[in-house]
């Protein structure tokens, strides 16, 4: 019978040869499936589902895979705990999918598919280029983070600048990322295309045949390539015209040079060879507004260092507006412009008004004596904006100087700019101008007001504006082309000694900017780019194998053997030009703003906020005058007055400047721009160009001041308010210094009383090298009580003699630990503000705006304190950079309730931003008040372009946290890590704080105090070294070297 048994066939016989399934495995569960199973559930249902899921073998397999160790049987005492663990771990994965927790959107990050050579993300790269400036390019080394420039430093190998930089250069970085930069070309306000412009322009000019009616109005051309291109354009279109005009120019220097020597020459001052320096209206220690600032400041500081074996130089300054150079001088004479001319005349023995001022006569004879005694080792420095009389006097006297030489001009096409502009305006008014191509200029803002540029401009049918912003001029121009920033451009320039630097771009133009090369090239061969033009021009001065030489030039940042050879020209051949200066009444001087120059930096937040040299104004300009003039006119500070010059008037605030000559007013150019300047620059200050004429661009007479135009609360960052000088200043109970009420600064007086500023004369320093601790004419050390005021408590007397030793040795390497410290030489600091801007760039410091600065909430970690000593009509001023002193026994550390500020074992007082809750007790306990607090959200978290500039190694602080100088700890750590990786010691000078690196005179020195050979150790070992407020026993790590001045006995 066919039983099932029978019908069952032998499986192995009848089964086809198929795959034998040996085990049935459940489908493997993935995390995504787990999440899917749990999705949408919440609360009890969620856990119930999870429970059920946890019981399934698929889930347990998944968890076993994820946590093999924990899933292994051996790990757990019982299977229940193991299952429980796996269940919980599974839940934690799935929790990401719970409704209520928002899942972050997926943002894919990709590493470079093809990483550019040498790029290691997170490691910055350094490229060399230069910052083109009308007085001479400043060579820079650009720190680029993933091809974004984030910091500029001086190029340390450049023969002229030797690695120093200045405030404008440091701040120029922010201009690259300015969110108000124009972003696309415009034709009559509508977006257009550069190619369109090129065609139209080329066609129109070609139609004229000779270039008739084509005028170029450019800023001072600094690029040899551009000059070469112009020559080509001029050859092709002989009737085309080029006018260079900048409101702050070197016209008087050019005129004087032409009259004296028949040609244009640039003066080179070798201040290292000068024992006596006389500066006539020359702010050569103030910034790159003065040509040759970097080598001159460095040389001056070198010769001004106190050394018993070397003679110290002596600086005399005669000026119309107090400057930092004036206050560094041993002897300073404040003269209003007409008197200054008379002085210059008397100096050179020329014709002209006689010098009547007895002080000036005494000064003059002393200076001439000193110059004679120096035996040729002197220099008379005339500023580029000094009057003709001063220029001529300098040329005349420098004939006998061994420290002054002349070179061909640094700019390739020197000219007398104001005269050229006048001619241009005349042509415009006559209708001769068909195309006005403006390259980097803003004449509708800063052209001399009597020329009425706007009227002429309106007669020009085609105007082209190449500019970084759609500014006052760009707004009204037919064509506007965005100008590429120098960090985005190919061009070249010469430094103050003539050395050529090739400027290479660091980043692609952010907003399709073009350079002047592109505009000119449109008339030549449009297919030639700026790069090609620069290469072509480089072939004229690069020697040897071109590709190698080219790469070397780009790598080094400068081209060897391109400096100008200095010549001595002897006495002036021609007669000095006639000077007709009416003088009389109240005179007005027009000076470039120390922070904004001629107004080009008006939209730069760092520079607007930077407290100006000497006046410490920020976000403002004012009519600057002496206390006497204010008294005579009955004006009080914070009053607004009207300045009336030849029928043109402007309403301005008033500020008293100590040491300003009487019967004179100074105004700074560069403010008062309209909203077109940008969100930062628009509407700040008043426009001094509204008073400035073409005939008298430097100074004018016949100013009338009308009172009672309201009040204006000036924004000044330091103690500049009358209350500190007025009624309260005179009530010093010990010794009244002056008869005039409020004629000295209480702050300055206290700074001397408290031994915050210490200095001595050269003779005193030689006699008593310990004067900083024993006393001198400029050093008051009151020996009162147990702890002589001003002296640190000797460590041996501490209850904790073993504390603060910092002599720990590493066990394995036996290396002594680092002990960081800083020393600042007050003799060298000129108050130029380069360090402050460098600090802003390095540490992502926020710009807070005018109202906040006025209340006192400026965020600068490093500030330059200016103290006026003595009678405010002719004071002595002292500059002291003040930053976190990194006190060993810091008061701030003791009082922070959450421990947000702590001391590292190497001696740095660090700020832990994320722990700070903002009680501000630390600020109260800091006697130096160097801690800055983010009272509101100051850091700009929104503007996209500004985010590029930020240093990724430094946090961007939010609201409610305290911040302060960190000795650039990010730089310290970077070098330490590198040294550790390469098993080497850190060399002295390898770690440069941002301020140290920017300082042109080398006043700031930072290093390892445990290294006996380090510069900072040697500086601190000098007898002149002292700590500010040492008697508070905070044990600051930053100390200062007391100043020495070298006065002339005749004038004391």
């Amino acid at each position: 019978m066919n039983t099932p048994n029978e019908t069952r066939m032998n499986p192995q016989e009848t089964m086809p040869a198929a795959q034998v399934v040996t085990a049935i495995a459940p489908a493997k569960l993935t995390l995504a499936e787990v999440r899917a199973k749990l999705e949408g559930k919440s609360g009890k249902r969620y856990w119930k589902n999870l429970d059920e899921l946890a019981a399934t073998p698929a889930f347990q397999d998944l968890m076993r895979e994820e946590f093999p160790r924990q899933a292994a049987a051996g790990e757990w005492v019982d299977s229940v705990s193991r299952r429980g663990f796996l269940k919980v771990m599974g839940a934690s994965f799935a929790l990401a999918g719970l409704a209520g927790c928002t899942k972050q959107p997926d943002e894919a990050i990709f590493p470079y598919v093809k990483q550019p050579e040498d790029l290691v993300l997170g490691r910055p790269m350094y490229f060399a280029t230069a910052h083109p400036f009308p007085t001479g390019a400043i060579p820079v080394l650009v720190k680029s983070e993933a091809f974004r420039p984030i910091k500029l430093e001086g190029n340390p190998e450049h023969p002229a600048s030797k690695g120093k930089s200045d405030a404008f250069t440091q701040a120029s970085l922010l201009d690259l990322y300015d969110p108000d930069r124009s972003q696309h070309p415009r034709l009559r306000g509508e977006q257009a295309d550069f190619g369109e412009f090129q065609q139209q322009f080329a066609a129109a000019v070609a139609k004229t045949g000779t270039g008739q009616g084509v005028y170029f109005l450019s800023e001072t051309i600094t690029s040899p390539t551009l000059a070469a291109q112009w020559k080509q354009v001029s050859a092709k279109y002989p009737q085309a015209r080029l006018v260079q005009y900048e409101p702050v120019n070197a016209d008087t220097a050019r005129t004087a040079s032409k009259a004296a020597f028949g040609d244009y020459y640039d003066t080179q001052y070798k201040l290292e060879d000068a024992d006596v320096i006389l500066a006539l209206d020359a702010d050569f220690l103030g910034g790159i507004g003065f040509p040759g600032f970097l080598p001159m400041a460095s040389a001056y500081a070198e010769r001004h260092r106190f050394d018993k074996d070397k003679p110290m130089n002596r600086l005399y300054v005669v000026e119309a507006m107090p400057t930092v150079t004036g206050f560094k001088a041993e002897h300073r004479l404040a003269l209003k412009p007409s008197d200054l001319d008379a002085f210059a005349n008397a100096l050179s023995g020329g014709s002209g008004p006689a010098l009547t001022n007895p002080d000036a006569q005494k000064f003059l004879s002393a200076v001439l004596d000193d110059i004679k005694k120096s035996g040729g080792r002197f220099a008379v420095v005339a500023g580029p904006q000094a009057s003709l009389a001063a220029q001529s006097a300098a040329l005349a006297l420098n004939a006998n100087s061994k420290a002054v030489t002349y070179t061909e001009p640094v700019v390739p096409l020197p000219s007398e700019q104001t005269a050229d502009l006048k001619a241009l305006v005349a042509d415009m008014n006559a209708g001769k101008v068909q195309w006005l191509v403006m390259l980097g200029v803003n004449p509708l803002y800063n052209a001399p007001v009597d020329l009425d540029f706007l009227a002429g401009f309106n007669m020009v049918p085609n105007s082209v504006h190449l500019g970084s912003h759609v500014d006052e001029t760009g707004f009204f121009s037919t064509w506007h082309i965005p100008k590429a920033h120098y960090l985005e451009s190919w061009t070249d320039a010469r430094a103050c000694d003539g050395t050529i630097s090739i400027i290479q771009p660091m980043i692609d133009p952010l907003y399709s900017g073009k350079s002047a090369h592109d505009i000119l090239q449109a008339l030549l061969d449009p297919s030639v780019s700026a790069y090609d033009a620069v290469v072509a021009n480089a072939k004229t001065y690069l020697t040897g194998d071109f590709p190698t030489a080219w790469r070397k030039a780009l790598h080094d940042g400068w081209v060897a053997n391109t400096a100008f050879t200095p010549k001595t020209l002897g006495a002036p051949k021609g007669a000095p030009p006639a000077v007709s200066y009416p003088g009389g009444g109240i005179e007005i001087s027009f000076k470039p703003d120390p922070s904004l120059y001629d107004g080009r930096y008006a939209n730069n937040g760092w520079l607007q906020e930077l407290p100006k040299q000497v006046t410490n104004m920020s976000w403002d300009n004012a009519a600057l005058m002496s206390m006497e003039l204010m008294g005579k006119l009955g004006i009080e500070e914070n009053e607004a007055i009207e300045l009336d010059l030849n029928g043109r008037s402007v309403i301005v605030p008033v500020l008293m400047v100590p040491g300003h000559p009487n019967d004179a007013v100074t105004v700074h150019l560069g403010l008062g721009r309209r909203a077109d300047a940008g969100r930062v620059g628009g509407g700040v200050g008043f426009n001094a160009y509204a008073l400035r004429t073409a005939d008298q661009p430097l100074a004018a007479a016949g100013l009338t001041i009308n009172r009672s135009k309201g009040t204006y609360d000036l924004c000044v960052t330091k103690v500049h308010n009358m209350e500190h000088r007025g009624a309260y200043a005179q009530r010093d109970l010990e010794r009244p210094l002056s008869d005039k009420d409020g004629a000295y600064s209480l702050a300055g007086h206290e700074a001397m009383e408290r031994s915050i500023i210490r200095y001595a004369t050269y003779a005193e320093a030689i006699k008593d090298p310990e004067y900083a601790h024993t006393g001198a004419s400029g050093t008051l050390v009151n020996k009162v009580g147990y702890n002589p005021q001003g002296e640190a408590v000797p460590h041996e007397e501490s209850f904790f003699p073993d504390a603060w030793r910092y002599d720990h040795k590493d066990e394995s390497t036996k290396k002594l630990q680092n002990k960081w410290g800083m020393s600042i030489d007050l003799n060298s600091c000129t108050g130029c503000n380069a360090c402050i801007v460098g600090c802003y760039a390095e540490n992502n410091i926020a710009v807070v705006g005018r109202e906040q600065v006025k209340i006192g909430r400026i965020m600068q970690w490093l500030r330059i304190d200016t103290y006026f000593e003595g009678d405010l009509n002719s004071p002595r001023a002292h500059f002291q950079p003040m930053l976190c002193q990194h006190c060993e026994s810091a008061g701030c550390e003791q009082v922070c309730p959450v421990g947000a500020t702590v001391h590292t074992p190497e001696g740095i007082n660090t700020m832990v931003y994320n722990r700070c809750v903002g009680t501000r007790y630390c600020s109260n306990n800091c006697p130096y008040k160097v801690r800055r607090f983010n009272f509101l959200l100051y850091s700009d978290y929104d503007t996209e372009s500004l985010k590029f500039q930020r240093n990724p190694d430094v946090s961007v602080r939010s609201r409610g946290v305290m911040e302060k100088c960190s000795y650039c700890i990010q730089r310290i750590e970077a070098v330490k890590i590198d040294a550790d990786k390469n098993n080497r010691a850190i060399a002295d000078g390898e770690i440069l704080t941002a301020c140290q690196q920017a300082c042109p005179t080398g006043a700031i020195v930072f290093g390892n105090l445990n290294d006996p050979a380090a510069k900072v150790t040697q500086r601190k070992a000098e007898e002149r070294d002292y700590q500010v407020l040492a008697d508070l026993n905070y044990r600051p790590r930053t100390s200062y070297t007391a100043g020495v001045i070298n006065p002339n006995a005749e004038l004391v």
Binding site: I855, G856, S923, P927
Partner: protein
């Protein structure tokens, strides 16, 4: 028929003056247990709340909304809306904090120290004085949190174990403040509450309205008035008084350390702890007077809070005011005697600098006016003068903290960082708002809780001096129920 002199009228004796001592009595004669209970319970358990109370509450609450607005704006924008800056990084917030905490000290002194000293006259004022303390601490306590830059992280000042393994930095006086103020708040609330339990019991027993019965029933924690309860109550009071007594001295000492431990001239001085404590008691008693005088008038409590109380409180103010005057004098003397330029400049600047006006207002309101008047008994028992003076003294005490905080900070060691301090409207709004907050809370307290301790007043009545077995005992016991 001998000639007689002019008929002298018999002297009208003021019933409120004790003929033996010439002092005012502590309780007006004629009160019984029942009358005391009725009087005080009647204020709470009445169905007719006086319209003036509603008016006052409305006004106070309106002003208190200033706190809400100011705090909201503060959290949205940051501490920068105030006038604080560098160098004056502390301003109204800290001044107000110290002022309010100082005010609170009087309540604790009355409750605790005067209890331990067996000064029975404090019995009628201690309840609302302690309430004043608590509300003052409430007003004070918001400032330390608000004035920090990141208030949402304020809990980091508390020592809680956390995964970061970070504790507060215990060397900082602000960390000590956390302990001092929280201890003070806790003990004050506990003491105040425990003290009110018998009275809540009375209210529960007398209440007609079920909700009131329930409310006071919950609050009275099952008080039966048994002997055992009374014994425990007395022990608890003494214990808490013992705990609170050191707090009177220690809390404001710790607050003064905020300044004394810092290195600023004008702050760094050892006189601060006693000077602050004395000042705190001074301003606290002034505030008690500010409250007591209207209360006794509007609620007709002149027989329970008599002129004797006012006189005694004025005497305490005189004593503490003298200590404060001594403190000011010592500061001035030491700034000269120390020969330290820092101290000398600080004091010169404080008196004659741009903010010198504040110093002279301080001297006038804190020293000159009180010292010129409080030595005379006529002034000490003049109700309207004491009321005016209490405001003057509180203004003066506010100015004391203003002078200490602002003048020491705005012109300190480095002249380059000298600045100024100008309060903004938000500062004022918050400060005035806290007055509204305080008044609101106090008015609510006056309506809902027994302002004067009934049990303690009853203990002071002559009827309590009963001999066992006497005929009056039964009567007395019956009456008390």
């Amino acid at each position: 028929m001998a000639t007689q002199g002019p008929i002298r009228e018999p002297e009208i004796l003021d019933p409120m003056i004790d003929p033996r001592t010439g002092e005012y009595v502590v309780i007006a004669p004629g009160h019984t247990f029942k009358s005391v209970t009725q009087k005080i319970a009647g204020i709470v358990l009445t169905a007719n709340t006086p319209i003036a109370w509603f008016g006052g509450l409305f006004l106070a609450a309106t002003i208190a909304t200033g706190v809400l607005i100011a705090v909201t704006w503060l959290f949205l924008k940051g501490v920068g809306i105030w006038g604080v800056t560098i160098p004056g990084a502390w301003g109204f917030a800290i001044i107000n904090f110290v002022w309010w905490i100082g005010i609170g000290h009087a309540g604790t002194l009355i409750s605790a120290i005067l209890l331990l000293f067996k000064q029975q006259w404090r019995n009628s004022i201690n309840r609302f004085a302690e309430a004043m303390t608590i509300f003052a601490v409430v007003c004070a306590g918001i400032f330390p949190l608000l004035h920090i830059g990141r208030p949402w992280l304020g809990y980091w000042l508390l020592p809680y174990p956390n995964t970061m393994n970070v504790w507060p930095q215990f060397r900082s006086p602000l960390a000590w403040d956390v302990f001092a103020v929280s201890t003070y708040a806790t003990i004050s609330v506990v003491f105040w509450y425990i003290g009110m339990i018998p009275d809540f019991g009375t209210l529960r027993d007398r209440a007609q309205w079920p909700l009131a019965k329930y409310f006071y029933g919950m609050l009275s924690l099952g008080w039966r008035g048994s002997t055992r309860h009374w014994i425990r109550y007395e022990s608890a009071s003494l214990l808490l008084a013992g705990l609170s007594t050191p707090l009177v001295l220690s809390v404001h000492t710790t607050i003064s350390f905020d300044f004394a431990v810092a290195a600023m001239a004008g702050w760094h001085t050892t006189i601060f702890p006693p000077y602050f404590v004395a000042g705190a008691v001074y301003s606290g008693f002034a505030m008690v007077l500010t409250l007591a005088i209207p209360i006794r008038k509007f609620y007709h409590l002149e027989d329970l809070v008599t002129l004797r109380h006012l006189d005694n409180m004025a005497k305490v103010m005189l004593a503490t005011g003298s200590i404060v005057a001594y403190g000011y004098g010592m500061e001035v003397f030491m700034s000269w005697y120390s020969a330290s330029h820092w101290e000398f400049f600080m004091m010169w600047n404080r008196m004659f600098g741009p903010m010198g006006w504040a110093y002279w207002v301080l001297i006038l309101t804190n020293i000159a006016i009180p010292q010129a008047t409080l030595w005379w008994r006529r002034c000490r028992v003049s109700v309207w003068w004491l009321f005016v003076l209490s405001f003057i003294i509180n203004i003066g005490m506010w100015f004391e903290r203003f002078v200490i905080v602002v003048t020491s900070l705005y012109r300190d060691y480095l002249p380059s960082s000298w600045g100024t301090y100008r309060a903004t409207k938000w500062d004022y709004m918050l400060f005035i708002g806290t007055w509204g907050l305080f008044t609101t809370l106090f008015l609510l307290f006056a309506r809902l809780a027994p302002m004067v301790p009934m049990s303690e007043i009853r203990m002071m009545l002559p009827q309590t001096k009963v001999h066992l077995g006497g005929a009056d005992a039964e009567v007395v016991v019956q009456e008390a129920l």
